[in-house]
């Protein structure tokens, strides 16, 4: 078995496409942690994320011939994963009533800016139970609508530029920017609320 460890994702993928099944195992192992976490964050359910993970790689296999090897494999994989996740969410979306007439907090009223500098984000090495933090992040993300959650996760997991995200999602650059701003603001607010709830529970 050739040593794939030092080779780029794209090289390994091309080896798989040429019939090397070891290469596919390498790719699946390589993206296991990131893709599974991305899907879990996106759909909010680990068991479903595992199913979608398999479907994603099955789709990669089925669409292998359409991949342009001059492009990056990672964004392609995540875009397929996001599509599969979106299909899943569409199927399970529950009916809910949304009350539009709650007061809108528009900026011209001078109200309630989210200030990122006021958000308390624990440093990566903070002494905090990882599974508890995981659960809090999941709760915070669950409060975001699907379009915002998707753009936020794609940006964070893929480390892509706006231009790349716009191209991948097929939406205008300006929309990506404004969605990303909204997504960060929504996540910041949501994280604050979840943190507060958690602290309150801890105090009880």
């Amino acid at each position: 078995m050739p040593d794939f460890a030092s080779q780029s994702d794209e090289t390994v993928f091309v080896a798989f496409r040429d019939g090397n099944t070891d290469a596919y195992r390498e790719l699946i192992e390589r993206f296991h942690d990131d893709l599974l976490r991305f899907l879990t964050r996106l759909v909010g359910d680990r068991a479903a994320a595992e199913d979608i993970f398999q479907e994603t790689f099955l789709q990669v296999h089925l669409s292998a011939s359409t991949f342009d090897a001059t492009r990056r494999f990672r964004p392609w994989l995540f875009t397929i994963g996001a599509n599969k996740g979106r299909d899943f969410l569409r199927k399970k979306k529950r009916q809910r009533t949304v009350e539009l007439s709650r007061p809108l907090k528009m900026s011209e009223g001078g109200t309630a800016f989210i200030d990122l500098l006021e958000v308390d984000v624990p440093p990566p090495d903070a002494a905090m139970d990882l599974s508890e933090r995981d659960e809090m992040v999941q709760r915070a993300l669950a409060r975001l609508g699907e379009p915002l959650r998707e753009v936020l996760l794609l940006a964070y997991f893929q480390r892509m530029s706006y231009a790349h995200i716009a191209e991948d999602l097929g939406i205008p650059l300006g929309t990506v920017k404004s969605r990303m701003h909204s997504a960060v603001a929504a996540f910041a607010r949501s994280w604050q609320m979840v943190s507060k709830e958690s602290t309150k529970r801890g105090d009880d």
Binding site: Y24, R25, I28, E29, H32, D33, L36, R37, A47, A48, E50, F53, Q54, F57, L58, H61, L62, K91, K93, R94, Q95, R96, T97, V98, E99, L100, S101, L104, M106, A112, F113, L116, V121, P122, P124, L130, D134, V137, G145, E146, P147, L148, L152, L153, Y156, F157, R159, S161, G170, I171, P172, G174, T175, H181, V184, A185, A186, F187, R189, W191
Partner: protein, 402 residues
């Protein structure tokens, strides 16, 4: 007792009546060329529309989602960022999410953004065995697809005398069952014998207790008669190495349950009394009333991290019954107990459920392992079902109808 198969709720969002009226007013106000000054609720909706700065038509694949649902999701999150924060996000994203050199410029904001990224993209470490399991399952699923593709081009022959399924057999079975399932699916009586159901449910409750007591005194393992299986687990009444029911019989052998507890009143051939104190198993498949989870080699331990949805036991499987008799299976058939109206299941947490079809969450078929479910799904996708509009493939193709 709950009923499985509740329909998914409608997938759309719904506006409250007041909001719906406001939308209607806004549309008519606009159509008249008036403004919304005198109508605060319509104003709110107008502001909401204003949030959607996206040219809808340019969105590939998701125009259908740009509806009031998406609008309201945006609205509920509409809390603006300061210009400094917006600029920080833009620069941070376009630098490839690196905080080096940026943090000083952005006054700590890049650090916050990086903190968010850390929160979202990292998490509790994955258990290596779970990882290996998922990687293997994913590869197996792809292999199944490759095999199914290959099998589709070469018509299979049935295995000779072996009890094991070969992939070729499965394709053949799946192809046959399309016809069996769509044409000959019998219209079973819907009349349920309530007293039988209650007696059966009471059996399951007793057996659930027996499982609990057995596991408690056997280091949390579930009943198991042998360390593993030989080439098959379907030969009821042969040896424990070839019969999964021998594992369930362990409850009787160790006096945790009686044969009567494991006899459904709807099964006329159910054995209710022990013929020999040395018995290891029922004598034949006909005597069996319940199907037991296929035990992996080495047995199965009950532990806290196992999902509750694991099904331990159910009314007897029609699929293994048919397979043992060598006739094509019907995957969605209900248990022959209870007049094919449904089946009870007993889950790991001791709870019982009445299912009106054998499909669990994620369409997991109670009677089949996932690889076979996938093949059936693929064959159905590929071949479709007989709809009654098919025609013979030329004069030499024999094809008769009703």
């Amino acid at each position: 007792m709950t009923t499985h198969g509740a329909e998914h709720p409608d997938e759309s969002y719904q506006l409250s009546a007041a909001d719906s009226a406001a939308v209607d007013r806004l549309i008519s106000i606009r159509a008249e060329g008036s403004d919304t000054d005198s109508d605060p609720q319509a104003q709110a909706v107008e502001q909401l529309f204003g949030l959607l700065d996206t040219p809808v038509a340019s969105e590939r694949e998701r125009s259908a989602r740009i509806n009031l649902a998406a609008l309201s999701a945006l609205r509920s999150q509409a809390q603006p960022l300061s210009q400094a924060d917006q600029d920080a996000i833009d620069q941070w994203i376009d630098s490839g999410c690196e905080i080096t050199d940026l943090d000083a410029v952005l006054g700590g904001r890049a650090g916050v953004l990086d903190g968010f990224r850390g929160l979202i993209t990292t998490g509790a470490p994955t258990d290596p065995s779970n990882k290996a399991d998922l990687v293997n399952r994913t590869l197996a699923r792809i292999q199944t697809q490759i095999d199914a593709d290959e099998a589709a081009y070469s018509l299979p022959t049935r295995g000779r005398g072996t009890m094991r399924f070969r992939l070729a057999d499965l394709i053949s079975i799946a192809a046959v069952l399309l016809i069996v399932g769509s044409i000959a699916m019998p219209v079973f009586s819907r009349v349920q014998t309530k007293s039988h159901q209650i007696a059966c449910l009471s059996n399951l409750g007793t057996v659930a207790d027996a499982f609990g007591v057995y596991a408690g005194s056997n280091r949390d393992t579930l009943p198991m008669a042998t360390a593993g299986f030989g080439p098959t687990w379907m030969k009821v009444g042969s040896t424990p190495e070839q019969s999964n029911s021998a594992n369930l019989y362990t409850l009787v052998r160790t006096e945790h349950a009686t044969l009567n507890d494991l006899a459904c009143p709807t099964n006329p051939d159910a054995r209710t009394a022990e013929s020999s104190p040395d018995a290891w198993d029922w004598h034949s498949i006909d005597e069996l009333s319940y199907s037991y989870r296929i035990m992996p080699n080495g047995g199965l331990k009950m532990h806290a991290s196992m999902p509750v949805r694991v099904v331990l036991m159910s009314d007897r499987s029609p699929v293994t019954l048919r397979a043992i008799r060598g006739i094509p299976i019907v995957p969605e058939e209900n248990s022959p107990n209870h007049d094919h109206a449904g089946q009870h299941i007993l889950k790991l947490d001791g709870s019982t459920e009445w299912l009106t079809n054998p499909l669990l969450e994620s369409n997991d078929n109670l009677w089949l392992p996932r690889p076979i479910e996938q093949i059936i799904h693929q064959v159905r996708n590929r071949l479709g079902v007989i709809e009654g509009n098919e025609m013979p493939d030329g004069p030499t193709d024999a094809f008769v109808g009703p």
